[in-house]
């Protein structure tokens, strides 16, 4: 069974007390999602992998020095992001980074619905594209963190540079938007069928 926040706090405590096994639990659980997050900040696969490696090495090495066992997941995501941004800046890859907190968060969405009708599929993707284009990279990042991690609004806010309330509002606004747009889209789908 997946662990919840409290369980991860326990794992982190064990790790800080010198439990090396706890370390591997943490790695096993979070390496994949950290990669999924990092690869949207930069498409440089090797860079993301290096950052993950550095992240875990530093956790291990400095574990004694960490005074505050902040919530583990938050520490991982925030540190990874900071490190990636720092490394990108050094590499001079993206000059469009103006603010540490605002990265060009890439959004590749899954066209998961296998539709028998390529036309309606096209329409669906078009509608999606319109919606997602209106969502800034910062907000896309926030949506990812909301639905792919166990972080709360305050923690997400810290990472993306928004207030907790603002994050929450944005999540709900996006969902409302989706409902409205899909209302439209369904209507046009209907029209197509009539024409046939």
């Amino acid at each position: 069974m997946a662990k919840d926040r409290n369980q991860w706090i326990e794992v982190w405590k064990r790790f800080r007390l010198g439990d090396r096994f706890a370390f591997s639990e943490i790695y096993e659980e979070f390496a994949d999602v950290l990669f999924a997050y990092g690869i949207k900040i930069t498409s440089d696969r090797e860079l993301v992998k290096d950052c993950i490696q550095d992240l875990f090495f530093n956790i291990y090495r400095y574990n004694i020095k960490l005074q505050q066992p902040e919530y583990l997941e938050f520490y991982l995501f925030r540190s990874l992001k900071n490190d990636i941004v720092r490394k990108i800046k050094n590499k001079n890859q993206q000059s469009s980074l103006t603010d540490e907190n605002v990265v060009l968060f890439d959004l590749k969405f899954l066209a998961e619905h296998d539709s028998h009708d390529p036309e309606s599929e096209e329409l669906r993707i078009e509608a999606l594209r319109k919606i997602l284009q209106t969502i800034s990279p910062q907000k896309r990042e926030m949506l990812f963190l909301k639905f792919s991690t166990g972080l709360n609004y305050a923690e997400i806010g810290e990472i993306v540079g928004m207030k907790a309330d603002a994050v929450k509002k944005q999540v709900y606004r996006t969902l409302d938007d989706l409902r409205d747009r899909f209302g439209e889209k369904l209507l046009s789908l209907f029209t197509i069928f009539i024409r046939r």
Partner: protein, 398 residues
């Protein structure tokens, strides 16, 4: 803003189900929808909206995930070496091929934890390497020394005077260490070993197995951890039950002879009792968990997939023939026998046709023979041809 939206979005169980479904979550929400049909429309609609936000994640390949972890270990080792510290346990994920690679990184010291389930998981995750000089079994002592046992059939005896005798030959003195630290005896493929524990229990370890045990049994029980296959002749001690822990189940005995086959790659854990009495339970059972008491000449087959145990009557001596270098089988899948032969000779055998795996065969093998003799015999009883591809690889053909 729909109330329903909020209720579900803030529920990790819901969002996990939408974005990372698994059978348990599917079942939970199926049931919920059945019990709350009035919410079905909302839930499904919200789910489809959320799915629009689902990413086509780029993920780490399993090899990449392992590679990163290995690099982390290398750096930590390097650091430790520089600071003259003995590097200790670093366990990795369970899908590292533990059965095939045994690698020791520096010295290895294992600490017994109070949370027993995680001890096993941790042990299962270790990557343990055989030092390049030796090819035989390796004993890793509680103080972190690696000892190569060199012979393909070796023995390790823990005596009452606090010494350890290796191969009836060299003697090690064990020091008063941390009573919680454990030893590990690692038997790579192609080897076997016999071990006598401090309480006079004798353990035969089969190829591809690992036993974790303390130097002395202090405490209320005598506990060991087994990966792979072992035959135990447990010394009687009514006051201190002997418990063998495997990945999923534990076997508690008072004094008896029994065989456990608990290889990580097998889907079933088989326990065969020759004489005495044992009690099986699942690892996380707790005080009220189900317990199964076995009688001599019974076999308990625990299925890792269903978590169920089936009891059957067998001839126990069949199952412990391997300790004498013999393997007897009656209407057993070809696949299963070949797996044992693979481990014993440290070879790899593939099937040109998947259907060959399920051919039922009967016979008796003398594993003291050469691998060619053994494979020839298997060809006969299975009506197939086993062709040699290179030094250690074979393939089964018509």
């Amino acid at each position: 803003m729909a109330f329903y939206d909020q209720k579900y979005i803030e529920n990790p169980m819901f969002t996990d189900w939408v974005f990372r479904p698994n059978p348990l979550l599917d079942r939970h929400w199926e049931k919920y929808l059945l019990n709350h049909p009035e919410e079905e429309a909302q839930i499904l609609e919200l789910k489809s909206r959320l799915l629009e936000l689902k990413y086509a994640d780029e993920t780490l390949l399993p090899e990449e995930k392992i590679e990163i972890a290995e690099h982390v270990i290398d750096r930590i080792e390097y650091e430790d070496e520089n600071q003259k510290r003995r590097t200790i346990v670093l366990s990795l994920m369970k899908y590292a091929a533990v059965a095939v690679i045994f690698a020791v990184i520096g010295g290895l010291v294992v600490y017994l934890k109070s949370d027993n389930e995680s001890v096993y998981k941790q042990m299962a995750g270790q990557i343990v390497q055989i030092p390049s000089e030796g090819k035989g079994p390796v004993l890793i002592t509680a103080s972190g020394e690696n000892l190569n046992l060199k012979k393909t059939s070796s023995s390790v005896d823990y005596t009452k005077t606090g010494t350890v005798v290796l191969n009836n030959d060299s003697v090690l003195k064990t020091f008063a260490e941390d009573s919680k630290a454990m030893n590990q005896l690692i038997i790579p493929y192609g080897n076997q070993s016999k071990l006598m524990l401090a309480d006079n229990t004798v353990v035969w370890l089969n190829a591809g197995s690992r036993l974790v045990y303390p130097t002395a049994f202090t405490g209320k029980t005598r506990e060991v951890l087994l990966f792979g296959e072992a035959y135990f002749e447990v010394a009687k001690n009514a006051e201190k039950p002997f418990i063998v822990k495997t990945s999923d189940i534990q076997i508690k005995v008072l004094g008896t002879h029994f065989n456990v086959s608990a290889y990580a790659e097998d889907k079933v854990i088989q326990t065969v009792l020759q004489e005495g009495s044992v009690e099986l339970s699942k690892n996380d059972a707790g005080i009220f968990g189900e317990r199964i008491i076995m009688k001599p000449n019974q076999m308990a087959s625990f299925s890792k997939t269903t978590s169920e145990t089936a009891l059957s009557n067998v001839d126990a001596s069949y199952y412990i023939l391997w300790t004498k270098g013999l393997l007897s089988f009656d209407e057993v899948d070809f696949d299963r026998i070949l797996k044992k032969v693979e481990r014993f000779y440290n070879i790899s055998v593939d099937f040109s046709e998947p259907t060959f795996r399920a051919i039922r065969i009967s016979g008796k093998l003398d594993l003291k023979g050469t691998r060619e003799e053994v494979l020839e015999y298997l060809e006969k009883v299975s009506s197939t041809k086993i062709k040699k591809l290179n030094e250690n690889q074979y393939i089964v053909n018509k």
